[in-house]
């Protein structure tokens, strides 16, 4: 059985359009998204997801599943249902206006060749 709008590594259950109720997941542990900081000074980055009964277990499981090879020094977990995502159908409207504003990049400007440091 396949349902079309479901959670995963985005998790917006409101977008699931009420299909949620059809699912036999009563006994499944909730889904969590895992974010890992690979070393101090860097951002936490999405690593993947996992199931856990609560936040503490999610962190413990994330440690075993996603940091077996020194991939991280810090873990964030957030229950997937609390993540809200932009709609791919809006991508054009949201991101394309940036395409014609290349003057926001330093390479847009004509400067003398002799100029060394700027």
């Amino acid at each position: 059985m396949i349902r079309k709008h479901l959670y995963g590594d985005y998790g917006d259950r409101e977008a699931a359009g009420g299909q949620e109720t059809n699912r036999n997941t009563a006994s499944e542990w909730p889904l969590w998204e895992v974010f890992i900081r690979s070393k101090a000074g860097l951002d936490h980055k999405h690593a993947g997801s996992l199931h856990a009964a609560d936040a503490q277990m999610a962190i413990e499981n994330a440690r075993d599943v996603y940091t077996r090879r020194m991939e991280g020094v810090s873990i964030w977990v957030v229950e997937s249902k609390y993540i809200h995502a932009s709609d791919p159908a809006d991508a054009e409207m949201l991101y394309e206006p940036a395409n014609d504003k290349i003057y926001r990049h330093p390479t847009f400007y004509n400067l003398p060749e002799e100029l060394k440091h700027m």
């Binding site: 479901l6 959670y7 995963g8 985005y10 036999n24 997941t25 499944e28 993947g48 009964a53 791919p88």
Partner: protein
């Protein structure tokens, strides 16, 4: 947008090598194919822990034991990455596990063969993981984003799996007569099942053409099998073992090894459930699931209790 324009948009993305992500529109068949492939891949990782788990307590040294434990733990992790990727397509973990246990979903047939001696740990790492890597490296560029990302992680972790297996085989091959015989015996038993791991030959593989079009697959079964045979034959020679195929011969013209006829009757027979360990493997998985049910329930209840206690403490402080 109309269905046609959704389809067009999807086709363009595939053509321009832009990943498909979970909330993007995709054809139902693409979704179904991915669910089938990713979940079977996940099941293979999980069932694949069993033949090796058989030898953890009997590893010949502490070093070998630590390595085998780490490898089996990796496989559990790989199963989880893949289950998560499949879940993004709209199937639940429980549904997938149900499909495995009912026999509706398959897993790699290689894990239905028994692990009779310690040398089998060498042969599995070298051949089975070797074949898996050959298959998985191109999947790092598969068109579905979450699957590709899971594969990148898996491939990175798996390179030690094959090396540790080859090291076991090499050590045995350099050992006493008995040890060498054990290594050769393991190669004899695992060779043919390993090259069958790439699946039926292209002529008999109904899904291949469509999967290639969707860029889920990047090479056909026969292309990958040939690649695997070409590199593995050399590896066997290097440690003085003989590949059990009398028809194996270097072909100057093609630049590849020609190999003997694969026993596809055996392959389909094992797929259908009649391999040496099919029943045992599934029974073990079902037993683990059923006997672990109380742990899953208890963890949920415990987390609720803990949350309630925390709330109560907060309230009493506020009061």
């Amino acid at each position: 947008m109309t269905v046609q324009s959704f389809q067009q948009h999807f086709d363009q993305k595939i053509e321009h090598e832009i990943s498909i992500e979970p909330r993007d529109w995709m054809p139902d068949e693409y979704r179904k194919t991915l669910i089938r492939q990713i979940s079977q891949h996940a099941h293979s990782e999980i069932v694949g822990m069993l033949p090796e788990g058989n030898w953890i307590t009997r590893a010949p040294s502490l070093r070998r034991k630590a390595v085998l434990l780490a490898k089996v733990q990796d496989e559990g992790g790989h199963g989880l990455y893949l289950y998560s990727a499949a879940e993004t397509l709209g199937i639940t973990r429980d549904e997938m596990i149900e499909q495995l246990h009912s026999g509706k979903a398959k897993y790699s047939s290689i894990f239905n063969y028994p692990t009779l001696t310690w040398a089998d740990m060498g042969a599995i790492g070298w051949l089975v993981d070797g074949a898996a890597i050959m298959n998985q490296v191109p999947l790092c560029r598969t068109s579905y984003g979450p699957y590709a990302r899971a594969m990148v992680r898996i491939c990175k972790e798996e390179s030690f799996h094959q090396r540790q297996g080859y090291e076991i085989m090499m050590t045995l091959a350099q050992g006493t007569e008995v040890q060498k015989k054990m290594a050769q015996d393991a190669l004899n038993r695992w060779w043919w099942p390993s090259i069958m791991m790439f699946g039926p030959s292209d002529a008999d593989s109904p899904h291949t053409a469509q999967s290639m079009k969707w860029r889920i697959k990047r090479f056909t079964n026969d292309e990958l099998r040939q690649k695997f045979i070409d590199v593995t034959v050399e590896q066997a020679r290097l440690i003085g073992l003989t590949v059990p195929d009398p028809d194996l011969k270097w072909n100057e013209e093609t630049g590849h090894y020609d190999y003997g006829k694969i026993n596809w009757d055996e392959f389909w027979n094992v797929v259908k459930g009649n391999g040496p360990c099919n029943k045992q493997r599934l029974d073990t998985r079902r037993k683990a699931w059923e006997e672990g049910a109380w742990v899953r329930e208890a963890a949920l209840v415990h987390s609720q209790k803990r949350a309630a206690r925390k709330a109560a403490t907060k309230e009493s402080i506020a009061a």
